[in-house]
Symmetry: C2
Subunit: 148 residues, 2 copies
C-alpha cells in the first residue's frame, strides 16, 4: 500500500509534464492561496516565512518561468514595470473586469464594476485576452502624492 498522498499540486505538475520538485510545490501552494498577483519579492518573503525556510532567489525566478511556460501560472507587468505572477485559476476569476494599477505603489485593484468589452477585431485577428488597465494613484497613495 503505497502512501501516495493525493497532493493536488503534484498532480497539476505531472499533468503539465514537468518534474515534481519541492520548490515547485512550495511556489504553487503560495500562488494558489493568493488572491492577487504577487511580485517575485512578495513570493520570496512569503516563502521565507514558511517552515521550510528561504527559497533561493534565482531558483524562484526559474520555478516561476517553468510554471508560466507550462501554463500553470501567468506573468504580467505592474505599473512600475515589475513582473507579477498569479496562478491560472486565479487569473480566470479576473478576466472579466478591469483593473486599477497604482503608479506609485504598483498595487492592483479589481474594478468589478467595469466589465471588459467583447473584442471588436479586423478580419483575421483573434483575441485571447482583453485587459482594461486604468493607471493612476490609489487611495492609499493619494495622500503621499504631494510629498517629495
Amino acid at each position: 500500500m503505497p502512501e501516495i498522498s493525493p497532493d493536488p499540486f503534484a498532480a497539476q505538475l505531472r499533468a503539465a509534464a514537468v518534474k515534481v520538485t519541492r520548490p515547485r510545490l512550495r511556489v504553487l501552494a503560495v500562488l494558489s492561496r493568493a488572491t492577487a498577483a504577487l511580485t517575485h519579492s512578495e513570493l520570496e518573503e512569503q516563502l521565507a516565512d514558511s517552515p521550510q525556510g528561504i527559497l533561493d532567489r534565482v531558483t524562484l525566478y526559474r520555478v516561476l518561468d517553468s510554471l508560466v511556460e507550462c501554463g500553470l501560472a501567468q506573468r504580467t507587468l505592474d505599473a512600475r514595470g515589475v513582473y507579477r505572477f498569479l496562478s491560472s485559476s486565479v487569473q480566470a476569476r479576473h478576466a472579466a473586469h478591469a483593473h486599477f494599477h497604482c503608479q506609485r505603489c504598483g498595487g492592483i485593484t479589481c474594478l468589478e464594476q467595469m466589465e471588459v468589452p467583447v473584442a471588436d477585431l479586423p478580419a483575421g485577428y483573434s483575441a485571447r485576452q482583453v485587459d482594461i488597465e486604468v493607471r493612476g494613484v490609489c487611495a492609499a497613495c493619494a495622500p503621499l502624492s504631494g510629498a517629495a
Copy 2:
C-alpha cells in the same frame, strides 16, 4: 532690442510653469521629433549625437520626470517593463481607442473602433490613463500559428 527667438519649446515650458533650461529644451526637441515612444537609453543616445554633446544620465531621468509631471510628456511601459516616453501630442492621438498586441510578433495595431470607457473608480482613486489591451494573434501571424 532683445533677440528673443520665438522658441516654441521654451514657450511650452513657460506655459507649463517649469523653468526653461538647456536640458529640458534638448529633450523636448528630441521627443517632439520622434514618431514613437523612446526609452531613456534611446534618448540618451540621440542626445549624445547632437552637437551639444552628452546629457547626464541622471539629469535626463529628472528632466523626463519633470516633463511628465507638468504634462508635456507621457510615460508608458513597453513589453519588457522598460519605461518609454513620448510627447503628449503623440499620446493624445492614441488615448481614445484600444490597441491589439500580437503575442507572436509583438506588433501593435490600433483598434479605432473600440473606444475606451470612462474610468469608474472607488473613492480616493484617481485615473491618469485608461488602456484597453487586446492580446492575441494578428492576421499576419495567424497562418503561422501551428508552427513551433
